[in-house]
């Protein structure tokens, strides 16, 4: 027990535990809304970007709410969060908000507080930005910090990429928003399957079966059943029941490792990162799109992952200098064509780019629309 609770309290608690409330759901949001928002809820008429990271919302009442948005590493400690709370107390009457991309927002009723708040945040090393046609925070996952199937570290890669993109976070420099996502394995927790730029950790080898521990740690039928592609089958090794992996069927998802710790999927020299581009979620202009493969493999090269950072930089730069205003990465590529995308970025087009999965038919160029 690492918690300081007295024996008595423990006993007391055990006694009342049966009556512990459950299924109470979230506390009602209303109590957390700043007064300006409570007053004008549902009455907003327009918004305007006053500068990167600052949005004015105007309500029918004539009141405005000024939002100041700043970065967060998402993986936060209570120490740092306490300092953020202090900022909220000082400038925003003790209210704050998080965006769906982990950024922190202060909703101000008083315009004059904007500049002092920004100054304060910057003094704390916290950049303000992430609005409109910027690169906002990266939707990402656990990586080596907390997940078992991760093929790379999430926070590390994110830190490096955002360090490189700090200007794009703090400015409105791009033709349109660029949504970046990172996921550490094919499970793609987050938004990798539909982001302008997606960074995906990948395993390239099947799990290694540790036959000596498997019988003790795992149930064979459950292990076999855990594989979504049916790549695992029971076998006998040295007279002991175990499992084997049919390599040609394995697509390196790590589901078996979730079920059975004797099937580690990590592979230090073969794990790495793939880059995907052109996905989006918003219905603005084109329909939502999946991200498409741009680079099949880059090595894991911690702590800086320079290959990954450079690849993202390349895409952002080529996009920034070629796309039209309001054109998302995917819309831009659709207009100029993938041949041009590969030409402009200098990325190699390989056999891995050509789809061979279920709906591959619809990815083939069944036309004479060709670009030279």
């Amino acid at each position: 027990m690492w918690v300081n609770i007295s024996e008595e309290e423990l006993k007391e608690r055990a006694a009342v535990r049966k009556k512990r409330p459950s299924d109470m759901g979230p506390p009602h949001f209303e109590q957390f809304l700043p007064p300006v928002i409570q007053r004008n809820y549902g009455q907003w008429e327009w918004h305007e970007f006053l500068r990167p990271g600052v949005i004015e919302y105007r309500a029918a009442s004539g009141e405005s709410c000024y939002v100041v948005r700043c970065a967060s590493p998402r993986l936060v400690g209570t120490t740092w969060m306490e300092s953020i709370c202090k900022v909220a107390d000082e400038f925003a009457d003790g209210y704050l908000r998080f965006t769906t991309r982990f950024n922190i927002e202060f909703n101000l009723a008083d315009k004059s507080k904007i500049e002092p708040l920004i100054a304060k945040l910057e003094s704390m090393g916290i950049p303000v930005g992430g609005t409109a046609n910027s690169i906002s925070n990266i939707t990402h996952t656990q990586g080596w910090v907390h997940c078992h199937t991760s093929a790379s570290d999430a926070s590390g890669v994110v830190k490096n990429v955002m360090e490189e993109m700090i200007g794009e976070f703090k400015g409105h420099k791009l033709p349109q928003r660029v949504k970046v996502a990172f996921a550490c394995c094919l499970n793609m927790c987050g938004a990798v399957h539909c982001s302008d730029i997606a960074i995906l950790g990948i395993h390239r080898r099947p799990p290694k079966v540790n036959h000596s521990t498997l019988t003790n740690l795992c149930e064979i039928p459950t292990t076999v059943a855990s594989c979504p592609t049916g790549a695992i089958r029971p076998t006998t090794v040295n007279g002991k029941p175990s499992v084997e992996v049919v390599e040609s069927k394995c697509m390196y998802c790590g589901n078996c490792y979730t079920t059975c710790p004797s099937m580690p999927i990590h592979n230090a020299i073969n794990d790495g990162i793939s880059i995907w581009v052109g996905g989006k979620v918003a219905n603005a202009r084109s329909k939502p799109k999946f991200s498409k493969l741009a680079i099949p493999f880059l090595p894991n090269n911690p702590p800086k992952w320079p290959e990954v950072t450079q690849a993202v930089r390349k895409i952002v730069d080529v996009y920034a200098s070629n796309a039209k205003d309001w054109e998302r990465v995917g819309d831009w590529i659709d207009r100029i064509g993938w041949p041009k995308f590969f030409e402009l970025t200098g990325f190699e087009f390989t056999k891995y780019h050509i789809d061979d999965y279920k709906l591959a038919t619809r990815t083939m160029n069944m036309s004479c629309h060709i670009r030279f």
Partner: protein, 409 residues
């Protein structure tokens, strides 16, 4: 700071973007029992290029089957502090607004019972407490529950629903996403806490097709605000945009940025006459023109939601976006969103009965076919559900004439 040696991680300390390494280092000072070893393990991962976590037995709190993810190091001898390092998922206030008071309460809990490290937020939208030990779980839960904070979903449960900020601050919101999701979350408490589905089920609501909570791509059931009538035009503000258009310094182009980017090409602009005409019957409600001129153009007044089903990440059958089931459903607060709840009930009934193990609802729909699925849910076929009708002739007619009858009759 902590005295664990982390030469590689140190390269990611400081900088212009807030550093996660600094966060852990600060917590290593604050809550060293977990975080010194946390740092040590992460440095090892950085050196040997692999993660060191694994799953283990199921962990949780009494009464719930969800909310906790068990996690263990695979090198417990080297890093005993994180031998157990479980995740706790807590349902946030819908819309992710907080008071510092509330946050401080949560942080206090986590300093007491866990590592002090957290994600604000997880990608599903939960408050994520990262790292505690099995025997702390019930104790932590005593205190959380007493204060009115509840655990989130995990496993084959209805996951914690989430919403964009909607009407709280947005001029585009067609529906009150926060009210809706707060309501629905309470409605699904049992399914959220006691996993009994074939697989996970996620609900997200965005106030308009901009979809700031990524419902269309990341939720099994997406509720996305939309309108049926005409885009509203504020004539005075429109004039201002025309003025902007004519001033080259403004970088605003009514033709290239608005009309020519409309996906259905249903906007006619005459920059000389300063008129803008929208053929609303052809408009696909994509939001683009409204996004570009938020002062002049507004969503309509006859608002409701598109209901889409089946979005998911790629495992196993490939990623899916949500597909339109109901092109327009009124989101009626006064009726306690009953229409939506009825649809939810029918969906679950069908899926619980017919979904295969580890099959997301989107995969079920693919397997049984959309038309058949609609029939099971008693929904009408509607051309808005598809991009285009079938192009193959493999129509399985179930209506035809019975020859014997015809001959007899």
């Amino acid at each position: 700071m902590s005295d664990v040696k982390t030469p590689m991680l140190d390269e990611l300390s400081g900088g212009q973007w807030p550093s996660f390494v600094d966060q852990i280092k600060q917590e290593a000072v604050h809550t060293p029992r977990y975080n010194n070893d946390m740092l040590k393990q992460l440095e090892i991962s950085y050196s040997d290029n692999r993660g060191h976590w694994k799953h283990g037995g199921l962990v949780g709190v009494t009464g719930y089957g969800a909310g906790i993810i068990g996690r263990y190091t695979d090198i417990p001898n080297e890093v005993p502090g994180v031998a157990q390092f479980h995740t706790v998922r807590v349902i946030p206030p819908t819309g992710l607004y907080y008071t510092t008071e509330a946050l401080r309460f949560l942080m206090g809990i986590w300093n007491k019972y866990g590592s002090g490290l957290m994600n604000l937020h997880g990608t599903t939208g939960d408050i994520i407490f990262l790292g505690t030990r099995t025997n702390h779980l019930e104790l932590m839960w005593d205190e959380l529950a007493a204060a009115g904070w509840d655990l989130g979903g995990s496993g084959s449960s209805n996951r914690t629903p989430s919403a964009c900020l909607g009407k709280s601050r947005c001029d585009a919101a067609c529906i009150d996403t926060m009210d809706l999701i707060h309501n629905i979350t309470n409605h699904v408490m049992d399914e959220l806490h006691r996993p009994a589905f074939p697989y996970k089920f996620k609900i997200k609501a965005s106030g308009c097709p901009n979809d700031c909570v990524a419902a269309n791509a990341r939720s099994d059931l997406a509720i996305i605000g939309i309108w049926k009538d005409d885009i509203r035009i504020n004539a005075a503000e429109l004039k201002n945009y025309f003025a902007k258009h004519k001033d080259p310094k403004q970088g605003f182009d009514m033709v290239n940025h608005v009309a020519l980017m409309c996906p259905s090409r249903c906007i006619e602009v005459d920059v000389n006459a300063e008129t803008l005409n929208i053929r609303n019957g052809e408009c696909v409600k994509c939001m683009h023109c409204i996004n570009v001129m938020p002062k002049a153009l507004h969503v309509g007044e006859d608002t409701g939601a598109v209901i889409l089903m089946g979005a998911k990440a790629p495992i196993v059958e490939g990623a899916l976006m949500g597909t339109v089931l109901v092109p327009f459903m009124k989101m009626d607060k006064d009726d306690d969103y009953q229409d939506f709840k009825d649809l939810l009930e029918k969906t679950w009934d069908y899926w619980e009965e017919n979904g295969q193990n580890r099959e997301r609802i989107g995969e079920t729909i693919q397997r049984v076919g959309l038309a058949y699925f609609l029939q099971q849910l008693e929904l009408e076929p509607n051309p808005n559900q598809i991009n285009a009708p079938r192009d193959n002739p493999y129509i399985f007619y179930d209506e035809f004439f019975d020859e014997e009858e015809e001959a007899a009759g």
